[in-house]
C-alpha cells in the first residue's frame, strides 16, 4: 500500500502527514462527536419519550462559541498546509537539474549530459529539480510516494523539486487528464545509491534497452522510449495515428497547406513526419496532435527508425 512507504521516501512525506493527519484527526473527532450527539438527541427526544417540545429560539453565546472555535481550528489547519507547501518553492542551490518533456502520452527525462531516459533515475539524498516542459496539452507529474505533484503546462516555465530519501522504484502517474491514453501515461522513478547512479549516468549517452536482435531492434527500442506506440501500432490497427504496418514505401495522401498531394513514404518523408509533423497531415488524421520530436530525436535515430519500419512490411 502506498501510504505505508517510509517517512524518508521524500522530504514532503512528513509535512504532508502532519497536515493530513491533523485535519483528518480533528475531523474524525468532530464527526464522531456530532454524530453521537445527534443520535442521542434522536433517541432521547423522540415523540414517545418527549411528547412536548421545548421551544428554544437560540443562544448567542453558543453561536459565538461555535463560530470562534472552528475558526481557530481552521486557521491551524491552514497554517499546517501552508507550512508543508512552502518548501516546494525553494529548491536548494545544489539541486541536480533534469528536464521532463511531457507529451501525449509519455514522459521523457533529459539530463544535463544529454542523456535521455523514459524513467526518472536519480541518486539518493540528492535534491532533484525538474524543469517541466509540455509540448501539447497540460499533463501533471505525480509521484504518490513522494507526495508531490505539479502540472506541466505548455508555454510556461515551471519546475518542481524534491529530495528522494529511500532507494527503490516508485510510480509516476500523469495526473491531469490529457486524452485517450491518459491512464497509460506513466513511468517510474528509480532511486539509486549515488555510486550506482554515477555508473548509470556515465553509460553511453543513449542507453535504450534493446530487447530483440536483428534489423530494426534498435529502432524499435528508440520508438518505445519516445512513446511512438501510444499513437501508432506496428500491426495495422488504427489508433490515433496511422499504423506503421506496410507504411514503408507506400503511397500516402497528405494535406500540404490545405491541398491534397500524394507522396511516397521515403526517408525524406519519414524525417519530415517526425520533425515537422504538421507540414504534411496524413488524410483522415487530425493535425496538431503529433508534435515535433526535434528536441529528442536525432538524424541517426531516424535512420534506425526507418530500419525498423522496413521490417514491418509483409512480403
Amino acid at each position: 500500500m502506498y501510504s505505508t512507504t517510509g517517512l524518508e521516501a521524500s522530504n514532503y512525506v512528513s509535512t504532508y502527514n502532519t497536515a493530513f493527519y491533523f485535519i483528518a484527526g480533528v475531523s474524525l473527532l468532530l464527526l464522531i462527536g456530532l454524530t453521537v450527539t445527534m443520535l442521542y438527541f434522536i433517541f432521547r427526544y423522540n415523540k414517545k419519550k418527549n411528547a412536548v417540545a421545548t421551544q428554544i429560539e437560540g443562544n448567542t453565546a453558543l453561536e459565538v462559541t461555535w463560530t470562534v472555535i472552528p475558526l481557530i481550528l481552521a486557521m491551524v489547519m491552514f497554517a499546517l498546509g501552508w507550512a508543508g507547501w512552502k518548501p516546494t518553492t525553494k529548491p536548494p542551490k545544489d539541486a541536480m537539474n533534469i528536464t521532463v518533456v511531457a507529451r501525449m502520452w509519455n514522459f521523457l527525462f533529459l539530463y544535463e549530459n544529454g542523456k535521455q531516459s523514459p524513467d526518472l533515475v536519480v541518486p539518493r539524498n540528492q535534491a532533484i529539480k525538474i524543469n517541466l516542459v509540455s509540448l501539447d496539452v497540460i499533463h501533471s507529474l505525480f509521484i504518490p510516494d513522494f507526495r508531490i505533484k505539479a502540472d506541466i503546462v505548455p508555454g510556461r516555465q515551471k519546475f518542481m523539486w524534491f529530495l528522494p530519501g529511500l532507494e527503490g522504484k516508485y510510480k509516476i502517474f500523469c495526473a491531469e487528464y490529457c486524452g485517450l491514453q491518459h491512464s497509460y501515461m506513466h513511468a517510474n522513478v528509480n532511486v539509486m545509491t549515488p555510486d550506482k547512479f554515477r555508473t548509470w549516468y556515465a553509460e553511453a549517452a543513449k542507453p535504450v534497452a534493446v530487447t530483440g536482435t536483428g534489423p530494426g531492434a534498435i529502432g524499435e527500442a528508440i520508438m518505445r522510449a519516445q512513446g511512438c506506440f501510444a499513437c501508432h501500432t506496428p500491426d495495422g490497427t488504427k489508433l490515433i495515428g496511422p499504423s506503421y504496418f506496410n507504411l514503408w514505401g507506400s503511397q500516402q495522401v497528405v494535406l500540404r497547406d490545405g491541398k491534397e498531394v500524394t507522396v511516397t513514404v521515403d526517408p525524406e518523408y519519414v524525417k519530415r513526419s517526425i520533425l515537422e509533423p504538421n507540414a504534411d497531415i496524413t488524410k483522415g488524421f487530425p493535425a496538431n496532435l503529433m508534435q515535433s520530436y526535434r528536441s529528442t530525436i536525432t538524424d541517426d535515430d531516424i535512420a534506425k527508425i526507418i530500419e525498423y519500419l522496413k521490417t514491418l512490411n509483409d512480403k
Partner: protein, 535 residues
Amino acid sequence: MSTQKTFEEPSYLEYKGKYKGIFSWILSTDHKRIALLYLFSLMTFFIVGATLGLLMKLELIAPGKTIITAQTYNAFFTLHGIIMIFAVVIPGLPAVFGNFLLPIMIGAKDVAFPRLNLLSWYFYVIGVSLVLISQFTGQGPPDTGWTFYAPYSFRTTGNMLPAVFGAFVLGFSSILTGLNFLVTIHRMRAPGMTWMKMPLFPWTLYATGWVQLLATPIIGITLLMIIAERTLHIGFFDPTLGGDPILYQHLFWTYSHPAVYIMILPAMGAISEIIPAFCHKTIFGYKFIVASSIAIAFVGYFIWGHHMFTSGMSGTALYTFSLLTFIVAIPSAVKVFNWISTMHKASIDLQTPFFWAVGFLFVFMIGGFSGLILGALAANIHLHNTHFVVAHFHFIVFGGTGYAFFGAMHYWYPKITGKMYDSRWANTGLIIFFLGFITLYGEMFFLGMRGMPRRYYDYDEIFHTGNIFSSLGAIVMYFGLAVIIINLIASLKNGIKAPSDPWGGKTLEWTIPSPPPVENFDEIPVITKGPYNYK
C-alpha cells in the same frame, strides 16, 4: 390565516386551462406545473447520468478492459459530469422545489415572471438536448471531462461545439430562474412577511439567486471563448498563440466554484425546513442560519483557486485562496451546529424525510471535512486529481444535494401529489441506498490517498481491491435507488389521500390543500409570526 377547506377551486393537477393533454403542461405558466416539468425531465437525466456512473464503476472493477474502451470511458465521465452538474444538481432543488414552493411559502400566487419561468424550462431542455446530440454526431463524443480544460478542449477531435453550447444554454436557463426568484422574493412576499419572517428555504433560494445571477455569466463568456477558440483560432487559451491555459482555469472556476454553492445552499434550505417540522420545534438560531447562507454565497465567490493549487499559480494567490477556503467552511459549521441543536429537547417524529435529513448531516460532514483536507496546500498537492477528490465531491454533491433532494422529495411529496407514500418501502430503500453509498464512495478516499489518479480508464494492480469494493457498492446503491423511485411512482396510484398538513409543518404551504389549488391561496394571508411557530 387559514384558507383551508374552502376549495371549490380545482387543484393545479386537475385544472383545465386553455390547452388540452400534454399542452396543458408544456405550455402552462403555472409555477407548480413547471416544477413538475422540471422534476420529470430532471429525473430522466439523473437516471441517464447515474447509469453512466454505474457503467464506469463496472469498467473499473478490474484493471484492463472490462466492458468498454478507453474512448467510451472518457466520453462517459464527460457526459456523466456535464449531466450531473449542469442538468441535475445545479437546477435541482431551485427549479423543482423552488418553483413549486417558493411562491407558496412567501404567500404569493405565482413567481414574478411566469412566462420567463416557462422559457427557462425550454432553455433547460434545449441545453440538455444539445449535450446529448453531441454524443451522436460529428467525429465522436466530447471527451474532455466536464471542466473542458484548455488546451485539450480545442485539440480533441471530439464533437465539442454542441456540448459547450449546450452548457451555455443551460447556464442561461439557470440565470433566468435565479433572476425570477430574486424579483419574486423582493416584490411578492405576503403582507407582514418581513425578511426576518421569511422561511429558510426561500432565504437560501435568495442567496442562491444572487450567485446564479452573478457567477453564471462568467462561465457563459468562457464557453463562448472556447467556441471561438475552436472555430476562429482566436488564441485566448492557446499557448502556441500566446494565450494562457491557466487563465482558462481561472475563468472556469470563477463560476464553477460558486456553482457548488448554488448546489448546496438550497439543499441546506430544504434541510432547514425538514428538521423543525419533524422536531415540532422552532429552528435554533434562525438569524445565524440566515446570516451563514449569505456568508457562504459571498465568500464562496472568492475561493475558486483551490481547484488550481498544483497549476503553478503564484504563492500569494495560493495563500489567499487556501485561507479563504478555510473561512468559507465556518458558515457551514454554524449551520450544522444549529441543526443539531434544534433536535435538543425536541419532540421528534421519526419519519422518512427526517431520516434523509440525518443521513444528509452525516455524509455532508464527511464531504465537508474531506474538503478541508483538500483545502490545505500540502495535502492538496498530493491529493489533487486523485480519487480522493472524486470521493469528496460525490460525498458532498450527491451526499449533500442528492440526499437533500430525496429528503425534500419525501417531505413535500404529499403536498405535490396529494398522496401519501408507503414509508416502510421508503425507509428500506434509504437504508440500502445509504449502505451502498458509503461502500461506493468511502473506498475512493483510500484509493485517492494511495495515489490513484482520477479519469483513469485503467489502473495499477495495487488499486484493484479497493475498486472491487467500490464497484460492488455501486450495485447495492443501484438497488436502493430503484426501491426508492419505484415506491414513489407506485404510491401515485396506491397511496392514500394526503391531508393538507400530514407532518405538522408550520410554513404556509401546509395551510393550503394538498395538492394546492391553481391560485394557491383564496386570500393572500397576512403574516404576523415567524415561520416556525410551534407554540
